[in-house]
């Protein structure tokens, strides 16, 4: 697609974007409510509010909500929203529609850090592993970015993709080597290879949430610059943007968003690639509209998919990372085909 084509598809009305965002917010609220209702204990909606606003420590339903279902919902919200937002930034900043947070080596770095932690400091609880995973994700991203921006022209899309692929493979084999010598950490790292929102502690959620929120806020504040960047390096330079600086800032925001999401829930696939795609098809490329829609859509996707998996397969905890692509891929294909069909109809 040319820059001009993108600009025209981005020329949708502000009201249209707001309507999409409001619809997604409603969808997310319904998915959240559904997610809180599903489980072995029957909990009426009335009790949900009581458990949040006037908790009774002796009520089993309240304990279930506060210790199990709310952390699970919040994990899904943070992971889905942050991964989708990170994917949106990656796709805009690199001009690569196939970019996803994993491209910066974030997943590989987090998994490696968790394995290192369980070897160096055995007995670390899940809550402290979040910190390790975040540090690993940040370091891997920094290494990928440094390798990808070496030489003339700085961090171009192709060089970043190449550096990310190479370093991910390198770190991945370090992880595999470490696992061969210490089979005990295999269990610990399993959570960081499939992506799951199950069993996260409120402390882990509280540790990850500020990073995700800060990353999202930064991306919203800089949305005008990201939009410019998404028009391509040539156009951005012509309008006077410091492309190198803004690409680096985008990378920092991606690390904060995807790093916190991966540290908390593991590399949940699909959402970081597909949610921003769907958002762009719905509201165009203006990043100020694209980002909230992608984040809301990503959060609704993860929370909804997790709830659907629990409702459909009670008693079997299928990690949302496994189930979501199964549910999401057909829905996404249907969505894209529908848009393409309408666009073809409009052109004819």
């Amino acid at each position: 697609m040319t820059a001009a084509g993108r600009a025209s598809s981005g020329g949708r009305s502000r009201a249209g974007g707001a309507a999409v965002a409001a619809g997604l917010a409603l969808l997310l609220a319904l998915a959240a409510l559904w997610s809180l209702r599903i489980g072995a204990t029957e909990i009426p909606t009335r009790t949900l509010f009581a458990a949040v606003f006037s908790p009774d420590p002796d009520a089993h339903a309240h304990a279930v909500l506060r210790a199990v279902r709310l952390p699970r919902l919040l994990t899904g919200l943070i992971a889905g929203g942050a991964l989708a937002a990170a994917g949106a930034i990656m796709q805009a900043a690199t001009g690569n529609p196939l970019a996803s947070p994993g491209l910066l080596g974030i997943n590989a770095g987090a998994a490696f850090a968790v394995v290192c932690a369980s070897i160096l400091a055995p007995g670390a609880a899940m809550g402290t592993l979040v910190g390790w995973a975040f540090a690993g994700a940040a370091m891997a991203a920094a290494a990928v970015y440094a390798a990808g921006s070496a030489g003339r022209g700085g961090a171009t899309s192709a060089k970043l993709a190449l550096a990310g692929a190479i370093l991910s493979a390198f770190i991945g084999s370090l992880t595999a080597a470490a696992l061969i010598f210490d089979t005990g950490s295999l269990d610990a790292v399993r959570a960081w290879t499939v992506g799951s929102v199950e069993g996260r502690s409120p402390q882990a959620v509280a540790a990850a949430a500020p990073w995700a929120a800060a990353g999202l806020a930064a991306a919203l504040i800089f949305s005008r610059q990201v939009t410019t960047l998404s028009l391509g390096a040539e156009v951005a330079r012509q309008v006077g943007q410091n492309v190198l600086l803004w690409r680096a800032l985008c990378a920092v925001a991606v690390v904060m968003l995807a790093g916190s999401a991966v540290a908390l829930a593991g590399p949940i696939g699909f959402v970081g690639l597909m949610a921003p795609h769907a958002a762009r098809l719905a509201v165009g490329t203006d990043f100020a509209r694209l980002l909230p829609v992608a984040a809301l859509g990503g959060a609704a996707l993860v929370v909804g998919a997790d709830a659907a998996l629990r409702a459909g397969l009670p008693g079997r905890d299928v990690p949302v990372g496994v189930g979501m692509a199964l549910l999401g891929a057909p829905a996404f294909i249907w969505f894209v085909r529908g848009r393409a069909g309408r666009r073809a109809g409009a052109a004819a």
Partner: protein, 319 residues
């Protein structure tokens, strides 16, 4: 006309066959007519009747639980067992003291070591399957026992090695102790939970239950409805919410063993969880950690007595 084969090729194929490298079928079942030793037969013998020596001198076992523990209790001349990776340290120490060589890990035994130990009889659990039977049978007569119930397994193993009377004496002693405890055990329901690194497991009360849980039945220990089998299931994996089903007045929990749940932080997380603290037994201070080796690597009468020790320690009625 037979194809001529060189001596080297013959030796190679014999070697490959001995190490189970060539795909082979299970040996043809033996019959009483052409067995000059003892014929081991019965519905629980995998692959049909096996002809074994009357007085085996070098017995090798393929599992480090039932076969190893019962073999040692019966005083069998054991030469090898998979001692790597077993979590019942006491049993491993007994095996090593008895001169049993390790053949590697249970899931990955070294066939080379098995062959080098030159066993004249191989014993193992039926779950090892036809492939293991075919491989092991090329080295020595192999009896794989398919019984789930530990007492059935004991009797079959003892009969196959000519130790039937010894086994009956050991089992009778156990039954007497279990019966005596029955009168003293509390009638209040008891919950038993295994905490692994990745989930919770409840071994259900059922006639098909795993060894330690059959011992609880023998001793008259009552389990709550959630922990009682409704159909064929023997294991339930509750999530945090379903944990409330563990309504016993006393709770025995198993950590560690084949996984690191005792050292990797999982146990601390569970013990600090509000839903764990809400369990009636935990609230009442009646949650007790029990040994993973005893409860998860059950291996015969000694294990059964250790389970009864736990019953005596934690589950007797107040007098």
């Amino acid at each position: 006309m037979r194809r001529p084969r060189s001596a080297a090729a013959l030796a190679l194929s014999a070697l490959a066959a001995a190490f189970g490298l060539a795909p082979g079928l299970a040996p043809a079942p033996a019959s009483a007519a052409d067995c000059d030793g003892r014929l081991v037969e019965g519905p629980m013998i995998l692959g049909g009747p096996v002809c074994v020596p009357v007085d085996p001198q070098r017995i090798l076992v393929l599992d480090p639980t039932f076969s190893l523990g019962m073999g040692l209790e019966l005083g069998l001349p054991l030469v090898g067992a998979p001692l790597v990776g077993m979590s019942d340290d006491a049993l491993r120490a007994r095996a090593e003291a008895a001169g049993v060589e390790s053949i590697g890990a249970f899931v990955e035994p070294s066939l080379e070591t098995v062959a080098a130990l030159q066993p004249d009889l191989i014993l193992g659990a039926g779950m090892l399957g036809e492939t293991a039977l075919a491989m092991a049978s090329r080295i020595a007569p192999t009896v794989l026992i398919g019984a789930e119930n530990w007492k059935d397994y004991y009797r079959i193993l003892a009969r196959a090695t000519g130790r039937g009377a010894e086994a009956e004496a050991i089992l009778a002693e156990y039954e007497a102790r279990a019966q005596a405890l029955r009168a003293r055990v509390s009638r209040a329901p008891v919950s038993v939970l295994r905490i692994t690194t990745w989930d919770f497991q409840v071994y259900l009360d059922s006639p098909r239950a795993y060894g330690p849980f059959l011992v609880l039945r023998d001793a008259g220990v009552v389990r709550p409805p959630f922990e009682t089998a409704q159909g064929d299931e023997t294991l339930r994996r509750p999530d945090w919410e379903e944990l409330a089903g563990l309504s016993g007045e006393t709770l025995l929990y198993i950590v560690g063993g084949a996984n690191d749940s005792d050292t990797n932080g999982r146990l601390d997380e569970v013990l600090a969880h509000p839903l764990w603290r809400a369990l009636p037994a935990v609230k009442a201070g009646r949650a007790h950690r029990v040994d993973a080796g005893t409860w998860m690597e059950f291996s015969g009468a000694a294990s059964a007595h250790r389970v009864l020790d736990d019953v005596e320690r934690y589950l007797l009625a107040a007098e």
